[in-house]
């Protein structure tokens, strides 16, 4: 590489993109030392040589003159809006010594007083850095907003991090509140191709269910507008129709590959024999037998008497409860006509071809070419666990989960394991990102992660606990030092400017690691400049929906200014804190070296990232495929093997999810044992989704509109608007510059295009101009992710009227108490501030 840099010539480097959290393969062209083109790598099936608009805009991130290229120290002690930090350049030694000394002081006193806001998704292993010194805090909501419920539930039902329908074989695709294949999520450029191939070449039918006419809805065969935060009711209506009206479910699959036939006692728990094996009803011998009894023919449905105990099968328990979720009732809740729910259910189950099989590469698989897919909008609600479960249950009912053409698990990276739990069940793996935090009262984390045994970090709850530290048991662990690393928590967390200003000013020392400054890092005392993705290494593959393998991010050009790799910065800080061993211990854990001791990092060394990736490559890909191999070849990514995609395990799926029930029961015991005084709704730990109504629907009548937020590809994940090529497009698009209202709603409220309005929830307010569009549900005001920045430090970003998330109450009502996911819909009232000029 060094020789390449020195030569005044044209060369290309195979690398990977980092303009969102995924990692498409790229080929970077450099001419006379200047990056002149980034293209997709046609040899990489993750993206087939394609790049999204953001991937095409990376050059402007790299050459942003407002990049931080040297360590900076603040000279103005006053922090907050309107305050110029008075940055001065300092040496790396001074910067690192200061950061390490300040962090060490706090961590040695109590690591729980340290607050990390670490969101560098492509270097996920660095999220674990605070754990190296015993800190479990998480001062951010990144990931929680979209995946708080999504990821743990995928871990429970698929033993994977994400999931998506089968682009290759699906024929009938229902998409609820998600951008998969159209505008966002899971390697968007490759997925758009896969979806276009399916839609246009194979004639796959797409039904999009959303409050707003998204890209998916615009391209779908049918757009079904839905009242925000009512998605689960639409799904329950479909399930009711299958179970009670059409009587079409995959009985064979439910009987043999789920715990649907397991017998449930009146208390809701699965009945077990003396050996602890789950019981089911054998129709041959007409008695209860263990789930694995040889020769048994289990009953999927029915009431049975086991000794003196009245029992029903899990499937029957659900079916009887689902009798009440009629299309008419679900229509009242969703605003979708009952006949539409019935029609979609019929089309869906007919397209599923229940009972059919297909042969791929000589092996016969279940073939169910219909599935329901969803992402943030479809499940980021107060009872997110139930929303997520509803989609899984529907896919299970037709046998489409992990079937050819159905709904498939998506691995976080290379790690794959499907293991057997008791009763022949798939072992649930809710913690896809790392181990959870053990229960404690008072809590050891300020965001109460201690109370979420199967959840993702509910960062929004920091806002709640910091306002009443006594009540929430966090008064002794209030923040004293903070690291903001590729994160903008003040922008994306709920909370008013006043609240954050006070909080940030109360924190003794704040350091930031980033490429550009933002609303949050403007509060930093020291800023440490990271490399961009065009001048750094990484070895990864995150959430590949249809591929398998890893790929190398490698520098196309030498580091700019004095920038250094963020991982190496953390090594430097760790060493100066006297915690080098801690860092290597955690690295060994998260990289998986603990399982292969010959690759273990030595405890007393600062390891260059290239060495870590080399060991990882050799450990996972074989000794002949170290870093040098990847430098030359870029990747070893292939289309995902059918053996991983389809029926990757022989275990039973949790139709009746006793694991979630049990987790709740254990949590309750912990609350009781410790005398935890917090009022917690344990009833959210359910074995299957029910019809409970999210609190957002019960706000005071004055808040008469639903506010939702949306994005499309140009503003998909991570920093966007400070990239001028992106903002040049986004700022020209009225969809992204206004608050979208249906014409009938605008007329009723006396509003015209361009009127400046305020949206006020019971929490806070944002504002912006009205944009009247037909493609939005009349009860909804839709807010682009592109409005609402207020950064002062970046010339390209136009200040907006506040982030949408400000409208979301960060309380327990708006948080899923099982997963930590946050409600993504707010109820607001609209006030006209001034007429269009």
């Amino acid at each position: 590489m060094t020789t390449k840099y020195a030569a005044k010539e044209t060369y290309t480097v195979k690398s990977t993109c980092k303009m969102c959290l995924h990692s498409c393969g790229t080929v970077v062209k450099v001419e006379d030392g200047v990056i002149t083109k980034i293209e997709g790598d046609p040899s990489n099936p993750a993206n087939y040589g394609k790049l999204c608009p953001k991937g095409n805009a990376g050059i402007m991130r790299h050459y942003d003159p407002q990049r931080v290229t040297t360590p900076l120290k603040r000279t103005n002690p006053k922090k907050g809006e309107g305050q110029d930090p008075g940055w001065v350049e300092i040496s790396w030694d001074e910067a690192l010594d200061t950061v390490a000394a300040e962090f060490k002081k706090v961590i040695e006193d109590d690591p729980r007083k340290f607050q990390p806001a670490i969101n560098d998704f492509q270097r996920l292993y660095n999220w674990a850095w605070p754990a190296s010194f015993g800190c479990g805090n998480f001062f951010s909501t990144v990931g929680t907003y979209c995946g708080g419920g999504y990821h743990p539930v995928n871990g429970i039902y698929h033993s994977t991090f994400a999931a998506v329908n089968d682009y290759k074989y699906c024929n009938y695709w229902i998409q609820v509140g998600g951008g998969d294949g159209f505008s966002s999520h899971l390697h968007v450029s490759g997925s758009v191709k896969r979806m276009a191939d399916a839609r246009v070449d194979r004639g796959m039918h797409v039904v999009a269910v959303e409050p707003r006419l998204s890209v998916a809805a615009a391209k779908a065969d049918e757009w079904i507008p839905i009242r925000p935060a009512s998605d689960r009711f639409f799904v329950l209506g479909l399930i009711h129709t299958l179970m009670h009206e059409l009587n079409q479910v995959d009985e064979e699959f439910l009987t043999n590959r789920t715990n649907g036939p397991y017998l449930i006692g009146p208390d809701g728990w699965i009945l077990r024999d003396a050996d602890g094996q789950a019981l089911m009803w054998d129709t041959v011998t007409d008695r209860a037998v263990a789930w694995n009894a040889a020769g048994a023919v289990p009953a999927l449905e029915g009431h049975f008497k086991v000794g003196d105990v009245e029992a029903r099968t899990g499937y029957t328990v659900m079916k009887e409860q689902y009798a009440e979720y009629t299309p008419e009732k679900m229509s009242d809740l969703t605003g979708i006509p009952a006949e539409t729910i019935r029609r979609i259910a019929k089309e869906f189950v007919e397209a599923a071809k229940i009972g059919s099989t297909i042969k791929i590469e000589g092996k016969t698989y279940r073939y169910r070419p219909a599935a329901i897919n969803y992402y943030r909008g479809g499940q980021a609600h107060s009872f997110s666990v139930q929303d997520n479960m509803a989609y899984k249950v529907l896919n299970i009912l037709i046998g489409a989960i992990d079937a050819v053409g159905g709904h498939l698990g998506v691995l976080l990276d290379l790690r794959q394991s499907w293991e057997e739990a008791a009763d022949g069940m798939l072992d649930p793996k809710p913690h896809q990102l790392g181990p959870g935090v053990p229960f404690s009262w008072p809590p050891n984390t300020t965001h109460l992660r201690d109370f979420f045994p199967i959840g993702v970090d509910p960062g929004q709850l920091n806002h709640m606990t910091f306002q009443d530290p006594e009540k929430w048991g966090v008064k002794d662990i209030m923040p004293e030092a903070m690291l903001i690393y590729h994160a903008n928590p003040l922008w994306n967390m709920p909370g008013t400017t006043e609240f954050f200003d006070k909080l940030m000013n109360s924190i003794g020392f704040i350091a930031a690691i980033d490429v550009v400054l933002n609303e949050s890092s403007m509060y930093a005392d020291i800023v440490l400049p990271d490399l961009t993705y065009l001048e750094s290494y990484n070895l990864l593959m995150i959430e590949p929906p249809s591929t398998y393998g890893i790929q190398l991010r490698q520098p196309a050009v030498p580091p700019t200014g004095k920038c250094r790799d963020a991982t190496e910065i953390l090594y430097e800080i760790s060493e100066r804190m006297g915690m080098l061993k801690n860092m290597n211990d955690i690295m060994n854990f998260v990289q998986g070296f603990v399982n292969a001791p010959e690759y273990m990092l030595e405890a007393d060394k600062k390891h260059p990232v290239t060495e870590i990736y080399d060991r990882f490559a050799r450990m996972t890909q074989g000794e002949d495929k170290g870093l040098e191999w990847f430098k030359e070849h870029g990747h070893n990514v292939v289309e995902r093997m059918p053996s991983i995609s389809y029926d990757p395990h022989p275990y039973r799926y949790p139709l009746y999810n006793e694991f979630i029930m049990k987790t709740g029961a254990d949590l309750k015991k912990n609350f009781e044992a410790t005398g935890c005084p917090i009022d917690w709704d344990f009833s959210q730990y359910v074995p299957f989704p029910d019809g409970r109504i999210p609190p957002v629907h019960k706000e005071a009548a004055e808040y008469d509109m639903y506010a939702i937020t949306f994005k499309d590809t140009t503003v998909n994940f991570s920093e966007n608007l400070s990239i001028p090529w992106i903002s040049d497009i986004v700022y020209r698009d009225p969809i992204h510059m206004g608050l979208l209202l249906n014409p009938k709603t605008a007329e009723k409220k006396g509003l015209k295009d361009g009127d400046l309005i305020e949206l006020r929830s019971r929490e806070d307010a944002i504002r912006g101009p009205v944009k009247i569009v037909e493609g939005v549900h009349p009860e909804t005001v839709a807010v682009s992710n592109a409005v609402g920045r207020w950064v002062e430090g970046h010339a390209i970003v136009k200040p907006g009227g506040g982030h949408f998330n400000r409208l979301l109450p960060s309380d327990l009502d708006y948080t899923c108490l099982v997963t930590g996911g946050l409600e993504s819909v707010a109820k607001v009232k609209i006030k006209k501030l001034s007429a269009a000029s």
Partner: protein, 204 residues
């Protein structure tokens, strides 16, 4: 003979603007200049409404009004059908701009070229290098990435398109992918009634 042409598949296009920015990278077009872009338009009334995404690019017409309007000979047609502008001959009169019924030409003033940097008051190394290709006071337009074609590569917007909504090829070859798709899908030329015979077709 070769006649380069493009089919734009409206069914596949998702309006993501990857084409717009791939072009920006490839050609280094200054702020406000788009050789290609995608526009979107709402059609219908709630709830029977959709959004149509339409990619736009110079049609490289066989019978190009811009070519006829050019008084200096700056606009010319290559043997393989490209409509190009010779900057050295262009005096910036904008007759072509007026003549183009599709509005696919842009006048780039000296001032805009000098001042419209992507970051205020700063030219990035990328711009330093790429803006050399432009002359202020001329009319600029899409060349179907002539420089890439010369290297045997397809235009930048084509290779990047995630939806594979742009098919490029030789319209004179009845067996080319682009010709076959136009035939199979009843592709149509934009404003065909004007008789300009565009080399760009739309597929629905």
């Amino acid at each position: 003979m070769t006649r380069w042409g493009m089919a734009l598949d409206l069914k596949r296009c998702v309006g993501c603007q990857a084409c717009t920015l791939a072009c920006k990278q490839e050609n280094g077009t200054p702020k406000g200049v788009f050789f290609t872009k995608t526009v979107s338009e709402e059609v219908g009334h709630y709830p029977n409404v959709t959004r149509v995404y339409t990619p736009l690019i110079c049609n490289h017409c066989s019978d190009a009004p811009c070519l006829k309007a050019c008084p200096t000979g700056a606009t010319y047609q290559t043997d393989d059908g490209l409509i190009l502008v010779d900057d050295d001959k262009c005096m910036g009169c904008r007759a072509c701009y007026v003549a183009c019924p599709y509005k696919h030409r842009t006048y780039l003033s000296k001032e805009a070229l000098e001042k419209n940097t992507w970051f205020p008051g700063h030219k990035t190394p990328f711009e330093e290098r790429k803006l050399r290709e432009f002359q202020g006071g001329t009319v600029v337009k899409c060349s179907f990435c002539e420089h890439r074609l010369a290297e045997g590569k397809e235009p930048a917007c084509v290779i990047t398109c995630p939806a594979v909504a742009r098919i490029f090829g030789d319209l004179d070859d009845p067996d080319s992918h682009v010709r076959r798709e136009i035939a199979r899908r009843d592709g149509y030329q934009p404003l065909a009634e004007l008789g300009t015979d565009p080399s760009v077709f739309y597929l629905e």
